[in-house]
């Protein structure tokens, strides 16, 4: 599989960078972040609030298969159409704390575009905790990988 999404997380730093190139014109990529109905579709979340402006707030809510609800919210600091979104992100009722996100949108060709997402955490430990959570969610995959490593040793 093609590795379209890249994660750059230097050891011991409190930040990470996620980059991704899309087979979409810049305007469509940005729209996916700006229109609540579209955000709901690809994020698999309910958009309770999305105020796309400086000092605006946003609030999402996801429901897992067991019916548990998880809230996410933040404040929008900058909203420049087709260019940039600066916002905070926080998972409600978790010890993870708030993170600062710089989203930069860039057109590459007429039909392709790029997203650069720079995320800053309170500490390097907080960042690693988030990465570890990704591991929990991708737990089956981690399991498969472990299994493959073991198989390879046989």
């Amino acid at each position: 599989m093609e590795r379209k999404t890249k994660i750059d997380a230097v050891d011991g730093r409190q930040e990470l960078v996620i980059t991704r190139e899309f087979d979409l014109p810049l305007e469509l990529l940005f729209k996916a972040y700006a229109e609540p109905e579209i955000v709901e579709q690809w994020m698999g979340t309910k958009v309770l609030k999305l105020e796309n402006k400086q000092h605006g707030g946003w609030q999402f809510e996801t429901t897992d298969p067991k019916g548990n609800k998880y809230g996410f919210n933040g404040v929008i600091h900058e909203f420049s159409p087709n260019r940039k979104i600066t916002r905070t992100f926080e998972m409600e009722n978790t010890p993870f704390g708030v993170q600062l996100e710089f989203l930069e949108f860039e057109g590459l060709t007429e039909g392709t575009s790029k997203l650069n997402m720079h995320v800053i955490y309170r500490s390097a430990a907080a960042r690693d905790q988030m990465l570890q959570m990704g591991m929990t969610q991708g737990v089956n995959m981690a399991h498969d990988r472990l299994q493959r490593i073991v198989e390879a040793l046989k």
Binding site: I7, W42, M141, V150, L153
Partner: protein, 107 residues
């Protein structure tokens, strides 16, 4: 070198792999871990001991209880630590692309 081989031996056992996956999400006591298995409690304890010995698990005293959690540094040696996180975002962005392609043709 020897230690490294030990890690791989440690995860060669399915119960021990299951234990690692269990404590990946949260620290747990030996009792809570054992409750997830049909195997006898002493067997689970033995597995925990092996995981501790090769540094895959760490112990933490909290009041009267001992909690077990993953040692991320060691896990990094086993699997690419970031890969599941990357996969999560990759899936999410694939979905975005798919949704927007449909949106595009609808227009």
């Amino acid at each position: 070198m020897n230690l490294r081989r030990d890690i791989f031996q440690a995860i060669a056992d399915p119960t021990r792999r299951a234990i690692l996956l269990l404590v990946a999400s949260q620290s747990m006591t030996a009792g809570a871990i054992a409750a997830n298995f049909d195997t006898a409690r002493p067997t689970v304890s033995k597995h925990l001991q092996i995981l501790i010995e090769c540094d895959l698990l760490e112990q933490e005293q909290n009041g009267r209880e001992i909690y077990y959690h993953l040692n991320p540094e060691k896990i990094k040696e086993l699997v690419d630590f970031i890969e599941p996180f990357r996969k999560l975002w990759d899936d999410r962005f694939n979905k975005l692309e798919e949704v927007m392609k449909k949106y595009q043709t609808k227009d």
